[in-house]
């Protein structure tokens, strides 16, 4: 055996045929997380209860929007192209609000991650929440870690079959409830649940109900940590948000090493505080050893901290051998230097600034959001029309998006064109009726006497005034006359 830099040449493969290469694919190592008590576990339960409550209760909240409008507080109405969030009614033209929300969520995630590591992964990610719920059910039915290992190793028997089918039955029931809740965000909740129970739902609803039931069952029941390790992109690039001042779940090696089993009454002199009990590994939902250092598989849930604290109190040592700490603190503690912590650093400033910017833009957008939108399009075929009395006429297509749930009336007028005569095709007068919650299209004509017509294109302003509120929207457009 020779060593070249960091590479160890094990042996000559030709001369020793017995030596085989490592396989490219391996069996999944099953993880049997053990039950644990402690602060982090309590926070995780609280997060689970709050998040599941929001998920299941939100679609049942009602919000009165008047007659003819859905009264569900949170509803995405695909067939009618509307999304309702409390007082907000989003039209497809305003989908940027949804995008803004996602951008805010992304920068919020980056910001929190740079400060406190993978809080999202450990506590709030749906994959984590449902996996936690599924593990709780599993523990109720099959027992804790050792019982589950024993059960899985045991040959198939009637008893094992009964326990396993109970567990999968319960999992499927939860999955169905999850899928059922998801479709409530896209349909009126009481109606669609009633229809689901009586079997009177459309094929589309059935499909999505089945899809979310199946994915919940597979991802939370079967895939679990495999989702985080192999499928999710976030663990792969979240390290870009980390630095030496980010709080992450840390094994304090300077205190724990050298580790080793310890007999009762043995002195702590000359050895570390880690008694190598493997409790941190036993409780880990992703099955890793945190003592190997920060790693991709760690979702930062802190359950190993709870497990280790329990052991530390039993052996009479201070808690937090595994703790939340920064790399720079650990380096300082190891070297015996004073601790330095910086909350304000380039990356936190950048993420906070981007977060504020995105939130500010969203808030400004919401504040400036109007209940009507007007577009004015100048007719190009033809650019102008000569009338029998020699007057020059231009035509405009005006579209009014009336986002209110009542019909409104708008007066059309033209500014910046002397002697202009304005009329609307197919109706008397200049009051344009905009139907409630709809787009109204009108063909508007503007004519000036031939002598007064501008040569070529000249800029005008089309003003559209809401009769009730007297608010005016002005749109720049052009009036085109013959070249002279």
């Amino acid at each position: 055996m020779t060593m070249v830099g960091d590479i160890v040449v094990v042996e000559d493969a030709v001369s020793t045929k017995a030596r085989k290469r490592d396989p490219l694919y391996v069996d999944r190592v099953r993880v049997y997380p053990k039950r644990v008590h402690g602060t982090f576990r309590r926070v995780k339960w609280a997060a689970l209860i709050v998040l599941l409550a929001i998920y299941y209760i939100a679609p049942w909240l009602r919000w009165d929007r008047g007659p003819g409008a859905p009264d569900q507080a949170f509803l995405i109405d695909m067939p009618n192209r509307r999304a309702y969030f409390l007082w907000l009614e989003i039209w497809p033209q305003e989908v940027y609000f949804l995008m803004g929300l996602l951008i805010i969520a992304a920068f919020g995630l980056f910001f929190v991650t740079s400060l406190a590591g993978r809080v999202w992964c450990g506590y709030a990610c749906p994959q984590t929440v449902w996996t936690d719920l599924y593990m709780w059910v599993e523990r109720l039915i099959e027992g804790d870690r050792n019982a589950r290992i024993k059960l899985d190793a045991a040959p198939l028997s009637a008893g094992k079959l009964a326990i396993k089918s109970t567990k999968h039955g319960a999992w499927l029931a939860i999955a169905a409830l999850t899928g059922g809740a998801w479709i409530m965000y896209f349909n009126d909740a009481p109606t669609v649940i009633g229809a689901l129970v009586t079997g009177a739902v459309s094929l589309k609803v059935t499909f999505f109900f089945g899809l979310f039931t199946a994915t919940t069952y597979l991802l939370a029941g079967w895939s679990r940590e495999q989702v985080c390790t192999y499928m999710c992109p976030w663990p792969r690039f979240q390290s870009a948000m980390f630095d030496e001042d980010t709080y992450v779940v840390t094994y304090q090696a300077w205190r724990g090493e050298p580790r080793g089993k310890r007999k009762k009454g043995e002195s702590w002199e000359g050895r570390g505080h880690c008694v190598d009990c493997n409790q941190c590994v036993a409780v880990c939902p992703t099955g890793i050893d945190i003592r190997d250092g920060s790693q991709l598989e760690c979702i930062g849930c802190g359950l190993c901290i709870d497990a280790c604290d329990g052991v530390m109190s039993k052996v009479g040592l201070p808690s937090h051998l595994i703790t939340l700490d920064t790399q720079s603190h650990q380096a300082a503690r190891t070297a015996g230097r004073p601790l330095r912590y910086r909350v304000v650093r380039p990356r936190t400033i950048l993420y906070a600034a981007l977060l504020l910017l995105a939130s500010g833009l969203m808030a400004a957008g919401l504040a400036a959001r109007t209940t009507s939108e007007v577009t004015v399009q100048h007719e190009r075929n033809p650019l102008f029309v000569t009338l029998s009395d020699g007057a020059i006429r231009n035509d405009y297509t005006i579209k009014i998006l009336n986002k209110e749930r009542l019909a409104r009336h708008f007066v059309v007028s033209v500014e910046g064109l002397a002697g202009a005569r304005v009329w609307i095709e197919g109706q008397e007068g200049l009051a344009l009726a905009a139907a409630a919650d709809a787009v109204t299209t009108a063909r508007v004509h503007v004519a000036v006497p031939g002598a007064a017509a501008p040569a070529g294109s000249s800029e005008i302003v089309v003003a559209i005034t809401d009769i009730a509120s007297n608010a005016t929207a002005r749109h720049g457009s052009v009036f085109v006359g013959p070249e002279r």
């Binding site: 094990v10 490592d22 391996v26 007719e379 095709e425 063909r443």
Partner: protein, 286 residues
């Protein structure tokens, strides 16, 4: 064939043989379910090629074709429109225009039918074309601009082969020797004076006498035209064949007699009604 097995000193993991600019790769084994998914996608593609058209010359067991799906969807949407089109065909124009839903459908349908059938001569948006293809967006109508009049023009055409076609037959005053060249020049000058573009008042005055005797019967005493007989307004600013003196004289000498085909038989009644309402709504409808 590699001759050596190498391991990373820190992780104890095997190092693969390939190398890029000095960078080596650890062998991090994937879970087996990952490779099973790969096999499943390969199986899926095999099944897909058997069921659907994936190989040239083989349509697949299901005999599915995108083209047929589109044909089916077109038939579906036609069936969905059938009720409206039937109602359109059965109602009179005023009733269609008064019904907001049917009226909007007529304008949209008329726009599509216009682009397919009418735009080659009358231009996109009814702008008209030089050489006898009248603009339909203006307020000047040779045969009348009410929805009913427009409907009749579209249905039966002008000087078309249809029995009920609109016909106006202006005499060939010059070509048939009905008027002398000088008289025609005088009449042309008079016609231009109606819209204030004449330059020779004496000639216009002489032409006025000839106009009253020969032209006023159809074009009216004041030259404003009579839509019932298809005689155009000569006093307005719009000229189908040009408004200069030579063009007007040429029209008197040998009238053009433009032709529009009858659309009855080519388009169904509902489409003709939609076209009439669309053209009427372009801006100059009476």
């Amino acid at each position: 064939m590699p001759t050596k097995l190498e391991k990373d000193a820190i992780t104890g993991m095997e190092i693969r043989d390939h190398e890029w600019d000095g960078l080596r790769e650890l062998n991090t084994p994937l879970p087996k379910w990952w490779v099973y998914i790969l096999y499943a996608t390969i199986l899926w593609s095999a099944v897909y090629v058997v069921l659907y058209p994936g190989v040239p010359g083989f349509r697949g067991v299901l005999d599915w074709a995108q083209r047929e799906e589109i044909v089916d969807r077109l038939a579906e949407s036609r069936a969905a429109q059938a009720a409206r089109l039937d109602r359109m065909g059965a109602s009179d124009l005023a009733a269609v225009a008064a019904d907001p839903e049917l009226g909007a459908f007529a304008i949209a349908g008329g726009r599509a039918a216009f682009a397919d059938n009418c735009a080659p001569c009358h231009g996109q948006g009814g702008a008209g074309r030089p050489g006898g293809f009248p603009a339909l967006v203006d307020d000047d109508w040779i045969w009348g601009g009410s929805p009913e009049a427009i409907h009749q023009t579209i249905a039966y055409g002008i000087r078309s082969s249809h029995d009920e076609t609109r016909v106006s037959d202006m005499p060939r005053f010059g070509a048939d020797g009905l008027l002398t060249r000088e008289s025609i020049g005088d009449v042309a000058e008079y016609v231009l004076s109606l819209s204030g573009t004449a330059e020779d008042p004496a000639a216009a005055k002489r032409g006025g006498v000839i106009f009253t005797e020969n032209c006023a019967v159809c074009h009216g005493e004041d030259g404003r035209g009579i839509a019932d007989v298809g005689a155009p307004d000569l006093a307005d600013a719009i000229w189908l064949y040009g408004g200069d003196r030579a063009s007007v004289a040429a029209s008197i000498t040998s009238p053009h007699g433009g032709v529009m085909p009858a659309w009855t038989g080519r388009l169904d009644e509902a489409t003709i009604k939609m076209l009439a309402l669309y053209v009427h709504g372009l801006g100059g409808g009476e």
